[in-house]
Amino acid sequence: VGAVIDFDGGGRYRGEMTDVDPESVAVGTRVAMTFRRLYSTDGIHNYFWKARPVTDGTIGEPEPVQPGAHRAEGAPAS
C-alpha cells in the first residue's frame, strides 16, 4: 500500500504502509513509522521506514489533532 505521509510539525514522506487493510486507508488516517524490510535480493535484506495505522495509542501517541497533521494522503496503491 503506497501513501503520502505528512508529519506533525512538518515534513513529508512518500512510501509504503504495512500491517494495514488497504480498504481502511483514507485521507487523514493517523499513522506511525516503523522500521521494516523493504527489499530482499539474493538473501540480502534492505530495511527502511514504513507507516502503519495508529490503533492503540501506545505508538505515535497523537497530539490533539491539528488540521493537516499526520495525514495519510491518498489511498491504497499496490
Binding site: R12, E73, P76, A77
Partner: protein, 399 residues
C-alpha cells in the same frame, strides 16, 4: 517565466501514424519505417529531402542510429531525445526550433516505442541505481493518489469519484471505437469500467492507458516554404515545456490535486499563442490521460474548467466529442494506446486530421466547422509532484 516562442515561423506539412496496439508482428524498425513512409508520402517528399531528424523514444533504442539504420537515411544528423512520457513532444519541439533557427530547411520529428515483447506488462526502461530506500511506487500507484485527494478537497465522495473516472474512460473508449488506428476500438459500458479489477487504489483496469507499440512522425519546414509541400499546413503557434523541481514527495504543501508543471507550461503556451480563453478558443485538445484522474485534473490545470468543477463538467459531457470542447477525440492514451515516445506526435496527428477536416465524417468534431482553428496537445511525464509537462498549440491559419 518568459519565452518568446516561435509563433507562425514553422509549419507541419506531413504526418504519419501507425496503428497502436499489441503489434506482435512488428518490431521497432517496422514501426519507424511505416510511420516515416506515411509521413513523407503525406508531404510528397522523399526521405532524402529531409535535412535533419529528431527521434523520441524512452527505451526502444539509444542514439540516432536507432533511426538512421532502418530508414537508410545515410549520413544525416539524427538526434535521439528522451523526456519521460513527454518524449514525443520533445522530439517535435526540438525539430521545430532547428527549422526556425534556419539551420535546416526541413526536419522530421518521429517517436516510437515497442512496449510489448519485453516480457513485462507496463513501462520498462531505465531504473537508476538508488540507495535501496526508494519505495518504488508503480505509475498507477503514484497517479492513484490524485483521486482521493481531489475528492477530499472538493467534497466529492468515493462513489461519485468512481463515476467521474469511469465517465472519462467511457468517453475515451467511445472516441477510440471510431478510430481504426486505436489500440482499443470497442465502446465499453460505464458498468464494465466501474466493476473492472483494481490495479492501484481506486484505479481499475479501465482507468489506465493502453500499453502498446506504435510510432508517429511529422515533417516540419519554415512557414514561407509550407505551400511547396502542402495546401493546408498546420502552423505551430506555441511550444512550452517545463521540468518541475520534483519536490512533491517531500513537500507537505503539495496536495495531489494539480500539476504545477502543467499550469506553468499552459500559461507559457497561451501567452505565445495569444490565447486568453482556451475553452472558448480551442477547437480541441489532446491531453495526457495516462490515468482517468489525470485527465480530470488536467481539465482544471489547462484552464478548461474552474478549480473544483471539472468533475461536474465531465459528467455533463463538456469534453465529449460532440461537447463544448472535445478532449481526446481520437481516444487518448486510454483507448488509442500509449507507446511512450510516439504519444506526443500521435496527439499532433489527431490535430492534423481534425483541424484540416480530414477526420472521417463519423468522428469529425463540430467545433472546426463552427470556425475554431486551434488545437492543443498536452504531454505529461513523471508523476504527480515530480514531473515534466509539454503544451503545444497548432492552428490552420496564420496570425
Amino acid at each position: 517565466m518568459t519565452s518568446a516562442g516561435i509563433r507562425d515561423r514553422v509549419a507541419i506539412v506531413g504526418m504519419g501514424c501507425t496503428r497502436f496496439g499489441e503489434l506482435w508482428d512488428q518490431g521497432t524498425n517496422d514501426l519507424l519505417t511505416d510511420a516515416a513512409i506515411e509521413c513523407t508520402t503525406s508531404a510528397g517528399v522523399a526521405i532524402d529531402a529531409i535535412d535533419a531528424f529528431w527521434l523520441g523514444t524512452l527505451g526502444a533504442g539509444n542514439s540516432g542510429i536507432t533511426l538512421s539504420k532502418p530508414l537508410k537515411i545515410g549520413y544525416k544528423p539524427v538526434t535521439r531525445v528522451e523526456n519521460f512520457c513527454a518524449t514525443g513532444s520533445e522530439a517535435f519541439r526540438n525539430a521545430c526550433y532547428a527549422v526556425a533557427s534556419g539551420a535546416y530547411d526541413t526536419a522530421m520529428a518521429i517517436g516510437v516505442e515497442k512496449l510489448k515483447d519485453t516480457g513485462y506488462s507496463g513501462l520498462t526502461g531505465i531504473r537508476l541505481v538508488g540507495d535501496g530506500t526508494d519505495p518504488g511506487l508503480s505509475s498507477p500507484a503514484a497517479f492513484s493518489f490524485l483521486a482521493p485527494s481531489y475528492g477530499h478537497k472538493y467534497g466529492v465522495d468515493r462513489v461519485q469519484m468512481k463515476e467521474v473516472m469511469s465517465r472519462i474512460a467511457f468517453k475515451n473508449h467511445q472516441n477510440g471505437a471510431r478510430n481504426p488506428r486505436a489500440q482499443f476500438q470497442k465502446e465499453v459500458s460505464m458498468e464494465t469500467i466501474a466493476k473492472a479489477p483494481l490495479v492501484a487504489g481506486d484505479l481499475g483496469v479501465f482507468d489506465c492507458s493502453g500499453v502498446s507499440d506504435g510510432s508517429a512522425a511529422a515533417i516540419i519546414c519554415r512557414v514561407e516554404d509550407a505551400h511547396k509541400y502542402c495546401d493546408n499546413p498546420l502552423y505551430v503557434k506555441a511550444l512550452a515545456f517545463v521540468a518541475g523541481p520534483a519536490a512533491g514527495p517531500i513537500d507537505p504543501e503539495y496536495d495531489y490535486t494539480t500539476f504545477e508543471e502543467v499550469v506553468r507550461s499552459a500559461a507559457d503556451a497561451y501567452a505565445q499563442a495569444g490565447i486568453t480563453d482556451p475553452r472558448a478558443q480551442l477547437a480541441m485538445a489532446e491531453v495526457h490521460d495516462c490515468f482517468t484522474p489525470t485527465e480530470l485534473v488536467l481539465m482544471e490545470d489547462l484552464g478548461f474548467a474552474e478549480r473544483g468543477t471539472a468533475w461536474k463538467e465531465v459528467l455533463a459531457g463538456t469534453f465529449d466529442r460532440d461537447g463544448e470542447l472535445p478532449v481526446n477525440p481520437d481516444g487518448g492514451l486510454k483507448s488509442f494506446g500509449h507507446p511512450i515516445g510516439a504519444s506526443g506526435l500521435r496527439m499532433l496527428f489527431e490535430c492534423w486530421l481534425q483541424l484540416r477536416g480530414e477526420a472521417p465524417p463519423d468522428r469529425q468534431i463540430d467545433t472546426v466547422g463552427a470556425g475554431r482553428t486551434l488545437g492543443l496537445t498536452h504531454n505529461l511525464g513523471g508523476a504527480p509532484g515530480e514531473g515534466v509537462s509539454f503544451v503545444g498549440i497548432v492552428g490552420t491559419e496564420l496570425g
